[in-house]
Symmetry: C2
Subunit: 475 residues, 2 copies
């Protein structure tokens, strides 16, 4: 059955690496390493690295290059005899360098590569290339080049941090027994806030592809609640969408949310503790793993933010909405929007509250019932009627997380949905309360806002690889 034309390959651990090295060794007797690996290699090792030139400087006797392959912020210094110089060794060109790792005379770098061969793999015309050697381009400038900006120090650091923060959040939930759920992106279910929904149909369609109108999700919460009724602890981490017609520094049409639902949650405290733990755990993880990259931001992009952040990590406060309104009412600040009981807190109010409370994270709980969606649990209090909802406000950013205990009582939920005329649309959601309902709660964290809080970056477009917003969808 098995014919001669095919050759059998066996799976073996690290076969890719060993194959590659074997081939390389025959050819060159140099071990191919990533630059982050080279930094922890032994002096005297024969190695080959591949990457992009970050600077090139020719002297009489020697050529000096800095080569970066994105595995770390730090570039590897390459020293070569002048005979290896090449006019194509320009800023941005792709190169392969082989040589011996040796001690560096410079304190700032642990070692350097004494090259015995340098090969230009891909040229880069320094006139046309939008980034210039040794120049620190602003975030706004590099934003014009979404396909190239990851080649700058600042944005490559940002994306390494984003990757590590993603990993840290997954780790937090995994370590705490949560099941990850891929909640759907396309949904027929987003009745609330219909004005800001993106609708989805095949290009040029004249009837609904899904038989019903379908939208991009604004939150995975309701679907997550369905699965919390089986796994107790679930989370989702994925893209969400708002068709908000805004050019502000605070809004994107496509952004990432981390959302969690926890069954058998009995109090607001149960919930805020998870929010707090996740925030702290992820932040400590990133600060420990991305020292150089975070440092670049805290030194050069947003000076002073490190001190600010250490304060944020120290403690948190909890106040009720009613207490928040008291604080706002008693302040001498002039607000553009009203801050009476029953009004929603605006960004200006949130910023004032955080500052007032000493620039630490502030949980605001128990919002007016009428401000919150149907799923928020009715506190059944009065005369100021509240729901068990919570927002986490952080310095510089404002609202970072929003959550609530969910209305688990079938009769209460049904009455509210009836009132809103949504009973039929949400009959499946009522089912979750008809069959083995349990007290539960959950929250969502805006991942880009989290990164802004961590790094002090002012514009949300600078913390996502390819920002999408009103009138802009580059690439």
């Amino acid at each position: 059955m098995f014919q001669g034309v095919v050759k059998r390959l066996c799976f073996s651990p690290n076969s890719a690496v060993s194959l590659l090295c074997a081939r390389h060794c025959c050819r060159k007797t140099h071990k191919k390493l990533r630059i982050s690996e080279a930094f922890s290699s032994q002096l005297g090792a024969n190695v080959t690295v591949q990457g992009w030139v970050r600077s090139a400087r020719a002297q009489k006797v020697n050529v000096f290059l800095h080569v970066n392959d994105g595995s770390s912020l730090q570039s590897l210094q390459v020293v070569a005899g002048a005979e290896l110089n090449d006019p194509l060794l320009t800023f941005g060109s792709a190169v392969e360098v082989s040589g011996i790792l040796q001690e560096s005379p410079h304190e700032k770098q642990p070692l350097e590569l004494q090259a015995d061969s340098i090969r230009v793999i891909g040229e880069c015309d320094p006139v046309d290339f939008p980034f210039k050697v040794k120049k620190r381009h602003g975030l706004e400038y590099i934003r014009q080049f979404p396909h190239l900006r990851c080649r700058t120090n600042a944005f490559s650091s940002l994306l390494r941090i984003r990757s590590e923060a993603t990993s840290a959040i997954h780790s937090y939930f995994k370590d705490n027994g949560f099941v990850q759920i891929h909640t759907p992106i396309i949904t027929s279910n987003d009745c609330e806030g219909a004005g800001e929904l993106f609708q989805v149909e095949p290009a040029g369609a004249d009837e609904h592809f899904f038989s019903v109108p379908a939208f991009l999700t604004v939150s995975g919460q309701l679907h997550l609640e369905a699965t919390a009724g089986a796994f107790s602890k679930v989370y989702t981490f994925g893209p969400t969408f708002r068709a908000e017609n805004s050019q502000s520094r605070r809004h994107l049409a496509e952004f990432y949310m981390v959302e969690a639902e926890i069954s058998f949650t009995q109090s607001m405290e149960d919930l805020t503790k998870v929010m707090e733990d996740m925030f702290r755990s992820a932040t400590e993880h990133v600060l420990a793993r991305c020292v150089e990259d975070v440092d670049l931001f805290h030194r050069h992009v947003t000076p002073g933010h490190r001190v600010f952040l250490s304060f944020v990590l120290l403690s948190s406060l909890r106040i009720t909405y009613t207490e928040a309104v008291d604080i706002l009412t008693r302040s001498s600040e002039q607000f553009a929007f009203p801050s009476d009981w029953g009004c929603d807190l605006k960004t200006e109010h949130e910023k004032y509250l955080v500052k007032h409370c000493g620039n630490v994270p502030v949980f605001v709980t128990d919002y007016p019932y009428d401000l919150k969606p149907f799923y928020a649990r009715d506190n059944q209090d009065g005369p100021r009627h509240t729901a068990a909802a919570v927002d986490l406000l952080v310095p510089g950013v404002g609202e970072l997380c929003g959550g609530s205990l969910r209305e688990e009582r079938l009769s209460v939920l049904r009455a509210r949905l009836e009132q809103l005329g949504l009973e039929d649309a949400y009959s499946w959601y009522l089912d979750l309360r008809r069959f083995g309902s349990a007290p539960h709660g959950g929250f969502g964290l805006g991942f880009e806002r989290y990164l802004q809080c961590l790094l002090g970056v002012d514009n949300i477009k600078d913390v996502i690889p390819f920002p999408r917003f009103s009138r802009s969808c580059l690439l």
Copy 2:
């Protein structure tokens, strides 16, 4: 500045847990545990568990319950005196049980809970509840209840496996130095295959929200290539979309793809080794971590699949497209579609090839140039002109991964884009070759097909929490 209305909370490790326990201990002197934790707890411990009743059986002296909270497939057996019986203890109801962990007389379970209190938290009418106690419902039946099917054994196992497989794939890439990139969901860039694109606009809009037509991504590859030019090794794992008008067992409108791009990839072998390593590493991880859950599928849902899978993990084969066509031409099989050189391989061909090769994964490389998209690297051979593209075919599923070396040569790529009239649309993509181009390659893996291969599940709708396909977008 800091007023009396707020109370200060300090972050401390595990504060959520200790607070919870402290409060619990005062109230009940029972430690609240998840059921998976209870199984590894000491005999004699006073514990409280919360979950859903999977079976309830009242005898003269005792009541027996099985309680499951989704932390594992296995339920905890609860034994209580008949006085704790309650007619509301039905299949599907939510309960809180406190008592003492004791040795179980049954071999199948390590321990059981001798209850001293049972509280029904949420009722479940067994007549209305679509799943019945001790009945093994088929996957097709439970698919009708997307909001409830995670409460069945089979689908809860599936979602735990899906969560673990997701984690395994992230781990593979992280351990191998890849940076995770959130490639965009909304894109202005998907010119190829325009017939199957979903278009995105705000509901009721009369002009383009993004100023240009925008679509749901069919692949993150091109954006990933942009970042591979900075980090060398990148991957993305997220939803992708096809507006394919198909009701088949093989297609979804929304599904998950794992995509990787690797700079300085010099040969097809470099690429297939990464595909192979990822597949093997993730699979071994899942088989080791989800023993019970995988076992449920391999025993009850798809008997015999374990043997099959062990064979799949043993080895792989590599053949060229030309060799594949030779095999098909020489076979005595009657195919519905032609299998001449230059024709695309159809599912029937893929299945035949895999079977012919001994039911192991088969890499098919070097497809006809004209069959492959503009970005596939031209092998510049002849007279049968091929591109350096590869598909990985696996038993039972057919195509699991597709990849290629990418055309990194500016002049070659530009000529092809000009020929297709796409030079302007892809000028940014050409830029990646103008500035420090490097040989690179990448691939995409269909995550749902991977789960089908792992578990032997026949219908793709049964391996995703909320399936979306032509004429169906439930919830």
